[in-house]
């Protein structure tokens, strides 16, 4: 049975965490902000200070979700991942937000928004679990 997964993360620590959480399988599409090994598609990098790029990233998220029609979207952040969570919600997809393990005393800014859109929102620190945010474990 085919199980298409869109795995999205910004380059750097976010991507390292994603690659340690999501196995590389034939139907798993990895999307990041810089070309590197094992990355299938590139999206524009954006942050809170770059509204135009954020808009562009939303459009790209719409394009890639339509192109691949995934069964599930999973991301470890940051803002580009949030674009996929929100667009995925609008298109009725199952979405998983994993907040970076770097955020040990509060959820990331993107995570605080993602928890209202993601099907499952995870923190890697037990003390940050709340009504909408679950703790199941951590990468370290």
């Amino acid at each position: 049975m085919s199980n298409i997964i869109l795995a999205v993360a910004s380059f750097g620590g976010h991507l390292v965490q994603l690659e340690n959480l999501v196995s590389k399988k034939a139907d798993t599409i990895f999307i990041s902000t810089i070309k590197s090994k094992n990355i299938n598609d590139i999206i524009v990098d954006c942050n809170i200070g770059t509204p135009i790029k954020t808009l562009l990233c939303f459009i790209q998220s719409f394009f890639y979700i339509c192109k691949y029609s995934p069964d599930c979207i999973i991301t470890t952040g940051a803002l580009p991942g949030l674009c996929f969570i929100i667009t995925g919600k609008l298109l009725g997809k199952k979405t998983i937000w994993v907040d970076s393990i770097a955020n040990a005393d509060k959820l990331s800014s993107s995570g605080k928004i993602a928890k209202y859109f993601a099907t499952v929102c995870l923190t890697q620190h037990p003390k940050l679990a709340s009504k909408r945010v679950q703790f199941m474990g951590g990468i370290l």
């Binding site: 199980n3 750097g12 620590g13 959480l21 999973i74 770097a102 005393d105 199941m136």
Partner: protein
């Protein structure tokens, strides 16, 4: 060989300077390679080499070869070093010194130090230099972080259901 990395995004001159000071004070003879996110850094010391950026292949090769790893407290570097069982020390970027947007790296090292008592993340320059010596000369039976990754099985079952096929 000492390998130093400040991550892929921002400069971190405080870390670079602290390493260089230690190297020249102690006449450390072996090679020191520093990934800095900066151009135009040159060293008078023949054993010191700067690189602006590294791709993941080059990064992993240097990480694999180094005796000790010195890094900003970014999770990518911490996880990659943990996977290779590297002896490492981490300096968190501080927002009030304009080293990052916020103090999440401080939160990272505090939480990792609480979980792993031998996780090395000095704050002062003196402690930083002591940690380099501890790592190099084996004074601490220092230690890698053990990557248990207790989250991966849950992610697998979220993605593939309970009876996921490998």
């Amino acid at each position: 060989m000492i390998f130093v990395s400040v991550g892929g995004q921002l400069k971190f001159p405080r870390l670079i300077n602290w390493v260089l000071e230690w190297v020249s004070l102690n006449h450390y003879p072996e090679q020191v390679i520093l990934q800095t996110n900066e151009d135009n850094l040159f060293s008078k010391l023949p054993n010191v080499r700067f690189v602006n950026k590294l791709d993941s292949g080059e990064f992993n090769a240097l990480l694999g070869q180094c005796t000790i790893f010195i890094s900003h407290a970014g999770m990518g570097n911490i996880i990659n070093a943990a996977k290779l069982y590297k002896r490492a020390l981490y300096l968190p970027r501080i927002a009030s010194l304009n080293e990052h947007r916020n103090d999440h790296q401080l939160a990272t090292v505090l939480s990792l130090s609480a979980k792993y008592p031998k996780f090395l993340s000095p704050r002062s320059k003196d402690d930083f230099h002591k940690c380099i010596e501890m790592l190099l000369f084996n004074i601490a039976e220092h230690t890698h972080l053990e990557m248990k990754n207790t989250l991966k099985p849950h992610i697998d079952s979220l993605l593939y259901g309970s009876e996921h096929n490998e």
